[in-house]
Amino acid sequence: MSRIFGIDLGTTNSLIAAIEDGAPRVIAVGGKRSALLPSVVAIAPDGAVTVGERAIEMEPHLTVERDGRVSAVGFAGGEQGAVIRSVKRYMGLGGDEVAPEDRARYTFADLSGPVVRFQIGRRVFTPPQISAEILRALKAGAERALSAAGKDEKVERVVITVPAYFNDGQRQATKDAGRLAGLEVVRLVNEPTAASLAYGLNKRATGNVAVFDFGGGTFDISILSIKEGIFEVLATNGDTHLGGDDIDRAIVNWLLAELPDTLKLDRHVWNSARMAAEDAKKRLSDVAATQVVVELPGHSIRKQLTRDALEQTAEPFIARTIKRCEMALADAKLTPAGIDAVVLVGGATRMPIVRQRVAKTFHREPLCSIDPEHIVALGAAVQASVLMGTQGDILLLDVVPLSLGIETMGGVMERLIHRNTTIPTSVAESFTTAVDNQTHVDIHVLQGERELANDCRSLARFKLGPIQPQPAGVPRIEVTFLIDANGILNVNARDERTGREHSVDVKPSYGLTDDEIERMLEEAIDLGEQDLEERLLISHRNDAEQILAALRKQLGEFGSLVDAGERARMDEVVERLEAARTGTDRELIAKLVEELNEVTTPFAERIMDAAIKAALEKKSVEELS
């Protein structure tokens, strides 16, 4: 049987590792023999996919040409192709859960469904499909590296790590990504737990360990007890939307504070600022102050960023991580004195302030003997070897991070499985009918810690039945909720009297259905012509809507920059597009969008210039030069 590989599918970087000569090692799949593959996926208008360093080069940004002019390059999104980074933030999310500040980042085809859909080129992509591209690149990279080392080996079976605090939907989405990449996902492992394996394997450790995992987009804290090879998670806590990205964004907001909103939201400007912010943040781990520069057409933003200011910016985010640590300690029924070691994981833990705060919280210096950006992948490789039966004495006992329950009368969440319960675990609950001859019972499964069903996350709905018509309260159906070793829910039902198994048709509240995944796998081949037409039409309508809305806003703010003749030409195209947009001729809509783009380009350029000039004139901006 083929070897199992360990994959860290990270927000910022992804890695693949395996056991070589008895020890876990990362495989160089990135550029310059690096093990880090940036989790960035570029998709050209024609559908060509690029992953990693080269995809970063295709991100929309501003660049200084040889003649000194600043021009906008890269895939701007939507029809023009797009570059998706931090796709992990969107895994398992419903369209309506995309944060408002994220909505300007990308062009979305639809934000009303149970899964986020990006519009790229002429196609629609879901987060699992984008993640699958990262997995494919890891697989190809690892196979290349192995073949260069003289091994003809395929990557087919993998362990993929996920944030410990990922909910059911986010885990399912990760499994879906594996499936779409043609991989068998043997197990999902929680990232901090994986890190503890890599840590404990070398040290032959015993005692209580806290793993502080602060990555690009997610934060986890896990507290484990390690005893004779048994790695038992006592408690875990976290936030799946809290990471180094948030600190970068805060710096971007500060950098662009003086620019008008339209310019702040411009993908080229925003992304250039993000790159500058990220670089500055990294530099400030070593130096006390640094100059941050963003080149805009005709002008530059230059601001001095000190480590003190960065730390103040980061403070609210760090405070949130510390609060989570305290909650995990309380759940583990431990005090800081009961912790024997603290292990740092994730790129964001390179910030000195983070290390100081962690040390203060746990009353001890954190360990970082293993590269915090490699440790999760290494641990995934260790777990892979456990699953292959080649790490005889090691066993991981992980927990479910969030309570699982069902909605009861009055919209109250009844907890069936408490958070931090060791998995796999199951609970059986008996259901009956409320009225005579009722043939179905509806069950709504929830995940979360709040009292009211509305405040918890909807996980799935299912219908029990058909039930033999009987007086109310007579039927007894036992439903077993089982959380497997991946932290994913399985449901089955049995008639208590007959012992007969009931079929349970579980409808996940978020994410892709099995059918959708099958369809994606076969997409290239049997996409119904009608279906395709329909989707193209919708995406063109969305484009039209977007450009019309943007133009309306710009005309409201900068109407004085347009002369009468130009305005008349714009209005004429707008009118035709407005009319076409309600029709079904998608070619016409596309043509008019293009036309409108053309007539408004000079206007857009003038807005950019004016905005920058206005920003420069502001007295409050002494840093600008």
Partner: protein
Amino acid sequence: MIECPSCGRRQEPLLTCADCGSPLAAPLDCFTALGLPRKPAIDPAALERRYHDLSRKVHPDRFAASPPRVRDASLRATATLTRSYRTLRDPVARGLYWLELNGEKLAENNKRVPPELAELVFEVQEQLAEMHDAAADPDAARGLAAQVARRRGQLQTTMDERLAELERNFLKWDQRPDERMLRLELKAILSKIAYLRTLIRDVDRALENSKAA
């Protein structure tokens, strides 16, 4: 009787097959799952060791390459083992479970205050009400919070005494017991503990709120 998914042997339900050691998907009581004699006095360290040893034998990580039937049995056996360990590890959960095994149940939402605790409960609730009313006056609220915090310590001491009483009750089941008496005693102890837990939770919540304010 249950059939082993690995070797096919039919046998009494246990956590693992008596022949080949493969996990069995049988519904088990907590004691059988952990292979322990049916008695409520348990040494926590020995219980943990047993749980770890059995986990090594049945956990899905050990059967990743096995046929689906065996993998499924491993999943179910581990779920049973974990649930059993969780129940027996916590003395209160174990007490409630033992009571249930002996055909008794603690009344849910019992509003009747155990007489022995009546005075304490009354005083604590009075203090909590005072603290709630004084929320607008920070100085008074701080003073009251300090009083309530001292009371918290007293409640914990009472709780610790009840827990010790619980352990003593467990031990008595080892000797030739008057089961009816022991059952009643156990029930009384557990109902006091349940009451104290609620009270301590209320106090903690009030203290947390006053800290936040």
